[in-house]
Amino acid sequence: MTFLNTIVTTVALSAALYLVGPAVSAQRAAGPAAAPPAGDDPARKPTPRLRDGHPDLNGFWAIGRGPDTPVGSSFGERNAFIKRGARNAAAQYADPNQPPYKPELMPKVEELAKNESKVDTAFFCKPGGVPRIGPPHGIVQAPGMPIVLLYEVIAGNTFRLVPTDGRGHTANLEGLYYGDSIGRWEGDTLVVETVGFNDETWIGIYGWLHSTKMRVIERLSRVGDTLRYQATVEDPDVFTRPWTMNAWTSVRTTKELILENPPCVESDIDHVTSFDEKTRR
């Protein structure tokens, strides 16, 4: 059992760290390393459609050209540490696309960031929430059913349901990690609108808090064998304006399916001392 506990502990930490914020610099995505060889560009492949005419989003999507991982990495391997430490923190804060917090909240955001390992619920095996969980790793799209977004998460795989039949939000739903989602098609883009959140989760590491009034708009569009994902966060309690986060691009994969991870157990959290974002300047 000791061995198992060790694994579980390690997993707990990984799980906590896994949920890095997607809203980090898009510079990597735009860099030359992200460009696949000409002629092999998955974005140039045809975009299949379902019988209803909408793009077919079915399949598994590896986060291959997002901010956090290089081309070819699996969707299970977003490096939890890549945006931590002095260098990455500096890069993050140098990104011009910063969350537009109200000035009076900035001290609180900074305080949270400096105490991340003590106050970020992602360190305690809690669900990452939307939009922190990032783009889906799998999508199931069946006629007459809500679109299902699947996520491989070390803290526990999860799913979201997105009805696209024109209904409104379910009344009286509140306090949710992943919110209440409804979807609609704008041309070939699936637009997912989500409300009903709790205020436990963050939008990303660095203390990015939000209120229960948060409304998240996610846009998913398939281009060939790639999936573009971008989230916009509206929260009049904490932001001065809606904030559109940097986009991710995922690549369709037939090799990978979603794996199940061992359970997240927060048995070692008291010993975490070194992961706080305290090297900002």
Partner: protein, 280 residues
Amino acid sequence: MKNTYLASVLIAAASIAAASIALMSGTPAAAQSASGSAPGTPANAKPIPRMADGHPDMSGVWWPGHDLIPAQASAVYREGERQGIGAQSFGSLYKPDAMAKAKALSDKDDPALWCIPSIIGPTPLVGNGLVGEIVQTPKTVVQLIETYHGFRIIPTDGRPHRDDVVPSNHGDAVGRWDGDTLIVDVTNFSDRNWLHHHGDVSFHSDALHMVETYRLADADTLEINVTADDPQMLTGTWKAPTVKLVRAPFEHIMETSCENTETANLIEAASKDNYGRKAR
């Protein structure tokens, strides 16, 4: 719309929600809905929904036909320990060594208290809870399990089991159609979880092999059978009681999560109260 009370109960209880045992006991609601099926179906009966490829379409939200009623649930549990499983339980087939181990375990040892999902609960589609949803495409059947908010991906495109993945709580499932019956073959389980929850001692080895069958008895009734072999633990093949689920009167399953924040308290409570059962 299912009330949020159910969700909160399930969250608070971290899935020791006792009512799912009622699934096993042939409740009136489930039995009513299950009637009027099969041969002699009235001419006005709804046809079984089908996919474009002709296979039955099991998409939808399924439950036993009744909501969780905590007071009754505990009463049911007290009266019918391992009701519906009884002498036919998975554990009744344990080999001597496993039987000896089982006698040393009790409610407080239930891995579900650590947010580790049971394999079957009352039946695989609902897991540790009461409600499950199926979304079916021509190549895949996806099962969404409300409690613990988990999912299973069951490919039905003829691919074999994967040989490149580590063992997991839900195992590796592949499906195929035999007429109108979906047959799901599951291997590669971890030995971490139990088949059932509620402290029903039902550990297994990583040699566990399960076969699940899903059949629409009528348009609104899903019949599920499960058999399990575990040559390391069992003296023979275990057959789970047949479970019939009906279409739920709400559109989607809800968000419930298990976060290990109550584990210590739950284990303490389980130790003290033994879920209302007499100590064995």
